[in-house]
Every structure is written in C-alpha cells, then in structure tokens.
Assembly symmetry: C2
C-alpha cells in the first residue's frame, strides 16, 4: 500500500483526494493529515482514515483534537511540516492553498518524498529554488493542477527535444462574454460562480481575472523547464481539453476528460498506472469544443503574470502576494473587480525584484508586496 | 541516413513521402521506388532521387524505363516485392492502394524491414497472419493512416493495460448533412469531393460511405490488438483530432494537427524523433471542434465492417473485395451511391468465412467476393 500524507485535507483538493482513497480500499493508506481551521471535518477525516499524525492550524484546537483522537496532533506551520515529513508517506499531496503551502511542501521535498503538487504557489513563489531542492533530494514533483497534469500526460512518450510549446487552456471564467465596461460592477457572488469547476474562493476569483492562468504559466515554466515564450494560453470555455503539448512537426497531443479534480489527483497518486472509473467517461457524442485567443483588455492580469515571470527572482512572489491581497479586498467589498488588476499593477510597478537566494528572500518579497497592496492609492 | 523504399511512389501518399524526403536533405535516402502505370512520374521521381531499384506495373513499360534510367527496373508484383526487399531499405513505405498492396508488404515484412503502413488492406485482408509474420521476422509496423498514427501517438508513454478503448474520428465525408433519402441521386463527382482530405478516388468514395472508417476499425483491431467492441468511431467534421485513446480513469489522450498526410508520414519515417515544420501549425484561435455519433442509417457500411471483423477469418477480405467492386461500379455509373451498400451487403450475406491459414485463403475469398459482387441482383 502506498502511504499518503495530505497537506490541506479539508480543502477542495484534500477532500477529493480522500474520496479517491476511500473508493480504492487496499491501495492507499493515509499516514498524515494537515488542515487549517476546519477542526470538525479534520476530526471526522482522522476518525475515518486513522492516520499516524494529524496537524491543525491553532495550538488550542490541536490540544482539543489530541484528547479526542488517539494520534499525536501537531499545530501551525511546524505541524504541517511534520505531517509532510511523516515516515510512512510515499507521496505527499501538497494542497494547502496560497503562500502558506510553501514551507510544508519544502519540508516534504527535503524529506525526499514524491510530491503531488496542487499548491501552485510553491512554484510561483520559489520555483527555481524548489526545483533545485527537489533535484538535490530526489523528490519527484508530479502536478495535480488539471492543466499541468494534462501537459505531463501529453509529454509522456514523446521527446522533450521535439517539444515546441505547451498550451494551457483556460475556461475564461464567468465573465468571458461580458462587455469589458461592465466588469466594474460585478459582485463577489457573480465572480465566485465558476462555470465549470467547483473550487475555493481565491482560485475562483483568480479564474475570473485569469490571474489563475497567469500563475499556472509561471508554475509550468518551472515544472517543465520552459521560458514564458514557450507557454501559451488559449481560452477553451468547455474545460474538456485540459491542456496540450505542441511538437515541432505540427502535431499536438492533448489530454481531455470531464472537469473533475479526482482525475489528476488519482493519476498523481497512482502513475504510471491509472485507477479505473475515477471520473465519469467523457461523452463524445454532441461534444463541441471551442478555442480562442485570450483578450488581454478583458484579462490584463494575464500580462502581469508573464511580465513577472520574465522579470524573474522575487517578482512572481510579489505578484502572488499582491494578488492574494487584492482578491481579499474585492471579496470584502473594498475594491471593485477591476480594482484587482489596478492594485496588482501598481504594486508591481513599484516593486524591485531581487534574486532568490534563500526562502527568506521570497517571504520578504511577499511581505513587501502585501504592505504595498494595502496602501495602494487606487483603493480610494 | 535512413534508407527508404516506397511502394506506390506515384500515388498520393508516395508523393507526399517524397516531399518530406526532399525537404529534409541528408536525412533519408530513397533506395527503391515501385509504382503502377504512371511511368512518366516514376521516371521523374527516379531521376530526382536516384534509387538503386525501380519497379513498374507492366513489363513493356519496365523495359522502356530500363533504357532511360541507369537503375535496374522490375515489373509487376515480383518487381514490387523486390523493391520491398531492397537491401539498403531501413523502412518500407507500403502505399500501393488496395488489395494489390498485400503481397509486396508481406515481402517487406519477411525481409524484417520496418513498415510504414499506409496500405490498410494489408491488415484488413490478412491481419492476424501479417501481424504474426511481423512478430516472427522482427518487422516493426508503424501506421501511416492519420487515424492510426494518432492512436499510436496517444498510446506512447501510457500503459496498454490501462487502455479502455480507442476512438477513431471520421470526417463524415461530403454527405454528412444530406438527408438520407437524397443519397440515391448523388453523382460520383459529388462523392469524390472530400471536405477535408485530398485523396485517391477509391478512398474518397469509401470516406463518403464510411466504409473507409470500417476498414480502419479492422486495421486498428490488428495493429493495437483490440476487439471491435473496444474500437469506437465518432464523427468529427473538422478532421483536426485525428483519433484518441481513452483510458480506464476517464482520461482521453488525442493527437491533433492540420489535415496533412505529410505529418503521419514524417512521423513514421523519423520516430521517435519528429521533423520540424512538416505541417503548418494548427491555428487554435477560433478553432471549433464537433463530435457526434455516426448515424448508421446514413452510413450502413460501417456496421458491415464491424460484422466482418466479428466474423473474422476471410470475412474482412471478402468485405474489402466486394467494396472495391461496388465502388468501381458506382464510379462507372452502373449503380447508384446507395447501391454500394446493397452490393456489399448481398455479397456478405451469402459469404461463408473460413479461417486464414495461408495467404491463398485470402486471395480465394477476394476472388469469390469479386465474382459475387459482379452478379449481384441489386445491380439490375
């Protein structure tokens, strides 16, 4: 049985991972679970899957949980890191959302674990450093994002030397067909209604601005060792083709399926094998697939992400931090939807990227960008 | 340099193959060319590519050509077989159309050559026998049909054990959107106008009846070792997705490109490498792809092919022969378009398939079916 540790077990990816594990008894053993504040769900998960170690965000909650469960319970970043290093874990699912996922993922990498990477910030914030650590510790990084998993599956069996570019597909989010001038007035509730995927709040807003795709471009750059110029984005409203690899001869290999994160999660856990019946079969009859160029007037955040990737160093970390702050401001009703771009743009305009030598450089860029976002004039 | 022999060098596939070779000087050397009646073009090809051996259909033409060229010139099936066995050939492109391609392809297989297989009849007529000979002689069979090449490319890097089915795409031909009752009156000229691919006459008509797809199902069954039940056909009018492989987890890998036979030809010649710029890049922006179930009332020939595959033995050989005869009758104006199905259906209804022990069993079935087709009552 393959030992699995799940960082972020109560989130959307974590719950889907546990569904996959639950449906395949005898194949996986859950050895550690780390979560944030949802102690109640974590308790239920721990009671069902009986991991060796559990971690939760607060110390008090950890103490309370420790009395109920028989397993030892850690707390905070240290607890999540301990879960990541857990002895019986063959693969660690990194699914804590946001910048908070970076340190526990690094801990798993340094313990030489295979990483099923759903936390895109790990590579966005510190891609070069993380990939170098992974090489050094022999930790394999397997993408769980549906787009990167699709690229990964479209590269298998073909020569990297013959790759021309990868093409990430983007649904275009809920506002794809809205006139640009109406974007000022959309509400958080409208922005959260993603047409294809059911996801967390931050990533849903990022999908509406296409910043999510921008972060995925940065992630793909590190995962597949490609410059931004060899990573394209195409709008594909149906979210059936999850991404593609284009080769020098004009051939494009792509991966399709119904939009269901259990697919890439299961593949990351079981590859090179596949688990039967993980997602519903794709109904080909009557299927229509459209592809179009992203409109950068509609989605200016995408261009910001390409610029940050090009600038390199701590620029993507600053971009990500500014985006997290701006999205929170939008969700709190403090700025309009279009203010997200304006905040990030102003932060990045004033930010001087530095090379990343240690993780502290990343965390500093993160702090600077968050402070800058909070004081952006566009807010008033 | 890779030595290439081309069987059927003056046909559509043969000419495209020579274009690929011409565009990649220093990569390939043409060692043999075999053609049918187009002596004039064969002469030009021989003068340009300077093969060691040339073969043409008639003995007189061979004698004439021998005086002009410096290379030895063979004739008939024996000449094509000699071209297939040609000493310097690393790969033999089998692109003689129809049942006539079988014996020369078998000669190449028995000489242990890698076969770039564009002649689908080789596997339709005698699949089990041919695949067994290929195993025995260590001859690798690489598909050149765009559909089978797409499947081949979609299987690379993934476990055969995890394959659920392959899905062959079909453009649906020129009559896809015609009411069934109007099919009686379509002319050969209309039937020859394929919407996506420029091909020979026989295969163009087979595309209009979908018999071409039926023959490809039989071919795929042998190439990939799958029963008919694990090979599906889906109508895809744009001919961009050339075929797909669906895996047990719900994931579908597919290969796309502009419809241009130079793509699969070049891949078959150079794999696992790919040759840069073989086909134009596929323009994703504005691309629309549709998929639908084939209507068996519209395309009853498809069902005949599945039945012949299921019956096994010499049934597919009889099917192919009846189809060749019926298509010729239609092109000569002797039967209406819908008569193609009626002729084949009547021949197959009366045909008793036998197991294939030797190639003579196949040739006998071919003869019987052709005679039966000529005397079908539906003709009157």
């Amino acid at each position: 049985m393959k030992g699995v540790a799940i960082l972020g077990s109560t989130g959307s990816i974590g719950r889907s991972a546990l569904e996959v594990i639950r449906s395949n008894p005898g194949r996986f053993r859950v050895v550690a679970l780390a979560a944030g504040d949802n102690t109640e769900l974590l308790k239920e998960q721990a009671e069902e899957f009986k991991p060796d170690f559990v971690s939760v965000s607060g110390k008090e909650a950890a103490a309370r949980l420790g009395k109920i469960l028989k397993a030892p319970v850690g707390a905070g970043v240290e607890g999540a890191e301990e879960a990541a290093r857990c002895k019986g874990a063959d693969v660690v699912i990194s699914a804590i959302s946001g910048a908070a996922g970076l340190l526990p993922t690094l801990a798993a990498i340094r313990a030489g674990k295979a990483i099923a990477l759903a936390n895109k910030e790990t590579l966005v914030l510190a891609g070069a450093l993380v990939m170098e650590e992974a090489r050094r510790h022999g930790a394999r990084i397997i993408p769980v994002d549906s787009e990167h998993s699709a690229v990964f599956q479209s590269l298998a069996g073909h020569r990297k030397e013959d790759l021309k570019r990868v093409v990430l597909t983007a649904s275009g989010g809920p506002f794809l067909n809205k006139p640009v001038q109406e974007l000022d007035n959309v509400t958080p509730a409208e922005a959260l209604k993603h047409p294809r995927w059911s996801m967390g709040r931050k990533i849903s807003i990022d999908s509406a601005t296409l910043m999510n795709k921008g972060l995925e471009v940065i992630e793909a750059s590190h995962l597949f060792g490609l410059p931004g110029a060899r990573i394209s984005v195409v709008i594909h409203p149906q979210s059936v083709v999850h991404s593609m690899a284009e080769y020098v001869d004009g051939s494009i290999i792509s991966q399709m399926s119904v939009p269901d994160m259990k697919g890439p999660i299961a593949y990351a856990l079981s590859l090179p094998e596949r688990i039967g019946g993980v997602t519903k079969p794709l109904e080909l009859s009557g299927l229509r697939l459209d592809f179009m160029e992203p409109d950068l007037k509609m989605f200016p955040c995408l261009a910001l992400a390409y610029s940050a990737l090009q600038a390199g160093g701590t620029a993507p970390a600053a971009l990500n931090a500014a985006d997290e702050e701006a999205v929170a401001m939008f969700l709190n009703g403090r700025i309009p939807f279009t203010g997200i771009y304006r905040v990030i743009s102003e932060v990045m305009g004033a930010f001087s990227p530095k090379p990343i030598k240690t993780i502290e450089d990343v965390l500093e860029a993160d702090r600077i960008a968050r402070l800058a976002a909070a004081s952006v004039k566009a807010l008033s």
